[in-house]
């Protein structure tokens, strides 16, 4: 397993947001995570990515025990996330957003700024080529030099994905990637995810758009009241009684 989460609990005071949840994602696999609002999906996501520390439980990513790793270390291992509400760098251009995302510790120093500008410029050129490639793949080349704050909600979602790709991730946690995306463009976004999967990147997708989840993922987890209540083949899981009940029986 690439990501192995077992018995993770997260509580906000007396409220148990995630209750002994376990899930696995295999290398290159696309896995869905569904559930009603308040089911604990986003909290579980934050616990996996390290924005929140789990109270109990164990997490292993790529043979590293990451349970106590801070968020930036998890990202460095290739476990990257996007956010439900986009967190773009609003006053930076789209290109700069991508450049920040690239791992570049050695040139991101005051020393480089003052005394190694040649090397820094060459590295930036290299990264710009990489960034342009990613923007082209996502159909965002035309937005390259605009300030990110001016993008539409859907474009900001793609920008987050582009930024994560600059990091050369092995597993991307996608938090509601279809929310705010123009319905006519959902097909395009799904196509992008399929291409990522083909290139060997594993995806864990939290989403309310169940049809898209069904079409994309090979396995599906459903959460309700902090617990994982069902898992397995997406079509079977969505048809199961327990999931139907959790969704108040009807919308499916």
């Amino acid at each position: 397993m690439m990501l192995d989460v077992s018995d993770v609990t997260v509580s906000y005071g007396p409220f148990l947001a995630v209750d002994r949840a376990s899930l696995q994602v295999g290398a290159g696999e696309t896995v869905g995570l569904a559930g009603t609002n308040g089911a604990g999906k986003s909290t579980l996501f934050a616990a996996i990515a390290g924005q929140i520390m789990a109270d109990t439980g164990r997490m292993v990513f790529d043979d590293h025990a990451i349970t106590n790793h801070p968020a930036h270390q998890r990202a460095r291992l290739g476990l990257c996330r996007t956010f439900q509400v986009p967190r773009e760098f609003g006053r930076l251009s789209v290109l700069e957003n991508l450049l920040v995302a690239a791992p570049g510790d050695r040139m991101e120093t005051m020393w480089s700024a003052w005394f190694a500008r040649g090397a820094m410029r060459r590295k930036t050129q290299q990264l710009t080529v990489q960034a342009d490639g990613i923007l082209a793949m996502l159909g965002m080349s035309g937005l390259r030099d605009l300030p990110a704050a001016g993008l539409s909600g859907g474009q900001k979602k793609l920008l987050e994905l582009a930024r994560v790709l600059m990091h050369r991730p092995r597993l991307i946690l996608l938090d509601e990637p279809f929310a705010g995306v123009n319905p006519v463009r959902i097909g395009e976004v799904m196509e992008i995810f399929r291409r990522l999967k083909d290139s060997g990147i594993a995806l864990l997708i939290v989403e309310h758009h169940l049809q898209a989840l069904k079409a994309l993922s090979s396995r599906l987890y459903v959460m309700d009241q902090g617990r994982v209540i069902a898992q397995g083949d997406p079509a079977e899981v969505l048809a199961s009684r327990i999931v139907q009940d959790a969704y108040m029986g009807g919308v499916l």
Binding site: A75, F89, A101, E108, M120, V164
Partner: protein, 291 residues
């Protein structure tokens, strides 16, 4: 009169140095530092005490800056744990703690009596002109070093932290290191500014290092434009001109006491600040939009 102008310029440039330091903390990185005066005080006392013990003034100024930078480290660690507004409160408290410590540690600082007869930078009739020239050179160096940071990969990460720190962390960067470095850098210039101040005024006492100084620096940043170093320079000069110029209000308003003039001056500056935030929120040199 020209001596008076030179003196105003010197004070203006000292404020510019403070503003440049604060502007890289706030304008670039988004750190709300309400305790900038602490580093001004540390620099002033360090350089004064060192030079009175025989250290050459040029060296003591540099050491004062370095000491101020080191003194920023604890505040840097506070910044790692606290969100914007809480950090602001801690810095405010830190500056007061520094001032009170200076006031109490009489064996070193002479407490409220202050330190007198601090050696100047250059002697003789043209002493202040030389002082101004050296200070101007230092300000230009500061602006240059900040310009290089702004146009670098390091600066890009700083602006990303300002715009959304959670995302920077999620992208695998340890923002802590960036913030501590920026606070040290900004405080270095705060310390150097304090050193120049003490060698210019030649007398320092704790009451010169109250929180109001920090807010004067904030005002010059707001006047000049957040995130622009030209703005820091011009904003500081404008602020000092306003502070000095309003000194003459009393001449035009008969029957107003000196104390009332002092309050009127602050009122005038407050009024100008309100007008700025209404009609030019980005400051003189800022790039459109609210900062």
């Amino acid at each position: 009169m020209s001596a008076y102008l030179i003196a105003i310029c010197i004070i203006g440039l000292i404020y510019a140095l403070l503003a440049i330091g604060l502007n890289i903390e706030y304008g670039e990185t988004g750190l709300i530092n309400f305790g900038h005066v602490a580093y001004f005080a540390i620099g002033a006392y360090a350089s004064a005490l060192l030079s009175l013990r025989g250290v050459p003034v040029s060296l003591s100024i540099l050491l004062a800056g370095l000491l101020a930078a080191v003194a920023a480290i604890p505040i840097g660690f506070a910044a790692l744990r606290l969100k914007d507004d809480y950090f602001a409160i801690v810095t405010l408290g830190f500056a007061e703690a520094v001032r009170i410590t200076i006031q109490q540690e009489e064996w070193l600082t002479h407490g409220v009596q202050g330190i007198a007869a601090i050696p100047g930078l250059a002697a003789g009739a043209s002493g202040n002109s030389v002082f101004l020239a050296i200070l101007l050179l230092v300000v230009l160096c500061a602006m240059g070093s900040v310009y290089l940071i702004q146009h670098s990969a390091f600066g890009r990460v700083l602006r990303a932290i300002r715009d959304n720190e959670v995302a920077v962390v999620a992208l695998g960067k340890r923002t802590a290191g960036f913030k501590v470095k920026v606070l040290m850098f900004g405080s270095f210039f705060g310390g150097v500014a304090g050193a120049f101040y003490s060698h210019f005024i030649s007398f320092i006492s704790p009451e010169q290092f109250v929180a109001l100084v920090t807010f004067y620096v904030w005002m010059s940043i707001i006047l000049g434009g957040v995130g622009t170093m030209r703005g820091s320079l011009v904003g500081s000069l404008v602020l000092v001109l306003l502070l000095e110029g309003s000194r003459f209000i009393g001449d035009f308003l008969p029957g107003v006491s000196d104390l009332q003039v002092a309050h009127l001056r602050l009122g005038v500056i407050g009024f100008i600040l309100v007008m700025f935030s209404l009609y030019r929120p980005q400051g003189l040199f800022g790039k459109g939009g609210r900062a």
